[in-house]
Amino acid sequence: MGVLQLVAKRLGLGAVTLLVVSIIIFGAVELLPGDLAQQILGQAATPETVKAMREELGLDRPAPVRYVEWLGGALQGDFGTSLANKRSVAEQLGPRFTNTLFLAALAAAFSVPISIVLGVLAALYRESVFDRIANVATLTSISSPEFFLGYILILFLSVQNPIFPSISSVSADMPFDERVYVTLLPAITLTLVVIAHMMRMTRAAIIALLASPYIEMARLKGEPRWKVIAVHALPNALAPIINVVALNLAYLITGVVLVEIVFVYPGVGQLLVDSVTKRDFPVVQACCLVFAATYILLNLTADVGAILSNPRLRHPK
């Protein structure tokens, strides 16, 4: 089946998934104890004020109605306004999401090339000292809680010898280089978190191929070792590698709440957690959908990539 049909089909499915996700999220937020009114007023809540607040926010109307209304808006690309502070969700989410993407991109820029190169090298010199050291090192890095990694990095690179800022408070008007500079520490933390997984997958994927006849053939044609790996093994190992990369990118975008907290980085994660604790449904909804969409798209890209990397699917008979 052609790439285009696949993309179309998957996008369709993706849309359905998003719908279901939005329903789940809405349900979940509905089930949360207490509601926005109480959360905003906090200790200051008195029955009257809460009631008034509910009316003002339209929380007094039945849940389905509110959901349908929201959906209607969402379908026209309007994700509504935050219940808590009347700013439009889009306007709130926009900069946050760019920040998140920026961080993810930076982390990926480090981790993906490094891990793939390391993986290939590890496969090339498998069972060698290098392989073992790389293995242990990456394992250790993946095995420590990320907030802990963050703190350690701060201790060494920011408190003891002040090279990087300990809090990366980025703002929209920041020049690119400065932005990179302040985002570097969290990026490194994330790199340490994801690198191991990708590297090990790359290594495994390549080694799995080394037993196959065409690799032996290549060696019997007198091709040098690096060429055997790079030209003959790697192209066939691409599919799983792309897959794991996509997976980790998804994580980099959706799973970094802790790092954001530790480095006071204004990303979506923070926004999401706050909104959940405040029951600010439209924001929670929007964030989750953005995340879900990212996840779906990344997976789709991975599959497309896998297809493109495989001539069998690229040029059917």
Binding site: S143, P145, Y151, L155, I207, V257, V273, V276, A292
Partner: protein, 353 residues
């Protein structure tokens, strides 16, 4: 140039030469590169760094030796067929095993080992280490050491339960889907995709806030969140098995699906599943500590490494080691498990290299 530095370098170089002489290529590479590094460090950081490196090497050898002797111990004690496998286990694996055993012991015999109760207030808050409290006290003056021991029980125990549950659900459904195929497979696949599309940490946050954070809920929620991943793996593995002729033969015999899953497919799917179990265990472990970080994990006064790190995190900025201990405990265990898993993966994939 102090005597220490001289001795240090001489030993390093001598060792490298020996390695070279006996054609221990790898050993030589390690030793000599270490020598070079220490030259560099010596120049840059001064003798202190040399001492660090010396300590590091010492530790490395200690671990190596420990692993080695533990492996021998196992080989001697275990029944022959297992011992045979053990003998060829890499040192990393046996080190991992050792650590795991230690943790398990600590977890099981926590009340015996720990000098004080989990929530028992012993001294003043942040009492410095003395012979009553080996690691000093925490913010309430509870004994740090005891809490770490109990932490092993709670954290590891809960992580273990959670992972087990996730696997029970995930793999069973996965195998089911693979065996039955058709619409069952389709539906499961869709559901799982949807579940996975929701960022797990946030989902955990939501669910835990809804059902309230107690240990049972914690286990259930995280298990729920991780079962899709397991499902995928189980589905994939089983997918390769169900096409085998012996499955066809069983089908043609008229066997029930249940039989197919349990006694035909499962035995062949265990190896990868077990390996995955190890990895997932680590992730669950980290996930729980992450939730504790967000205040949704295991709740005080129950001792849990994740929240212990969290509670004392600010100490790190002052180079105090208190928070390092539980964090190190977490890292050590996960590394250990991963080592073992690696080895098992190597065994299960009969790939001879």
């Amino acid at each position: 140039m102090s005597t220490f530095a001289i001795v240090f370098y001489t030993l390093m170089i001598a060792a490298s030469c020996l390695a070279a002489y006996y054609h221990r290529r790898e050993a030589f590479m390690v030793l000599f590169s270490l020598t070079l590094i220490s030259f560099l460090m010596g120049l840059l950081g001064g003798e202190v760094w040399l001492r660090y490196i010396a300590v590091a090497i010492g530790l490395l050898y200690a671990c190596g030796g420990l692993a080695y002797s533990f492996r021998e111990f196992l080989v001697q004690t275990l029944p022959r067929d297992i011992a045979k496998v053990m003998r060829n286990a890499p040192l990393t694996a046996s080190f991992g095993l050792f650590v795991i055993v230690v943790y398990i012991v600590a977890a099981i015999f926590a009340p015996v080992i720990a000098p004080f109760g989990e929530a028992e207030v012993v001294g003043s808050s942040y009492a410095p280490p003395d012979d009553t409290m080996i690691l000093g006290g925490d913010q309430l003056g509870r004994d740090m050491f005891s809490r770490i021991i109990y932490g092993a029980r709670n954290t590891v125990g809960i992580a273990l339960l959670t992972t087990a549950l996730a696997f029970l659900v995930g793999s069973l459904v996965g195998l089911m889907a693979a065996t039955l195929g058709g619409w069952v497979d389709q539906v499961c696949g869709r559901v799982v995709d949807t579940l996975m599309a929701i960022p797990s940490l946030v989902f955990a946050l939501l669910l835990l806030t809804i059902v309230g954070t107690n240990v049972v809920n914690l286990i259930l929620v995280i298990a729920l969140l991780y079962s899709p991943v397991v499902f995928r793996l189980a589905r994939a593995v089983a997918g390769n098995i169900v096409v085998m002729d012996y499955i066809e033969a069983a089908r043609l015999r008229g066997e029930k699906t249940w039989y197919l899953i349990i006694s035909e497919i499962l035995p062949n799917a265990t190896a990868p599943l077990v390996a995955e179990f190890g990895l997932r265990f680590c992730f669950v472990f980290l996930a729980i500590s992450a939730l504790s970080f967000l205040g949704l994990g295991i709740q005080p006064p129950t001792a849990d490494w994740g929240s212990m790190v969290r509670e004392n995190a600010t100490l790190i900025s002052f180079g105090e080691i208190t928070p390092l201990i539980p964090a190190a405990a977490i890292a050590l265990l996960t590394v250990a498990v991963n080592f073992v898993v690696d080895w098992m993966l190597h065994l299960s994939s009969g790939l001879k290299e």
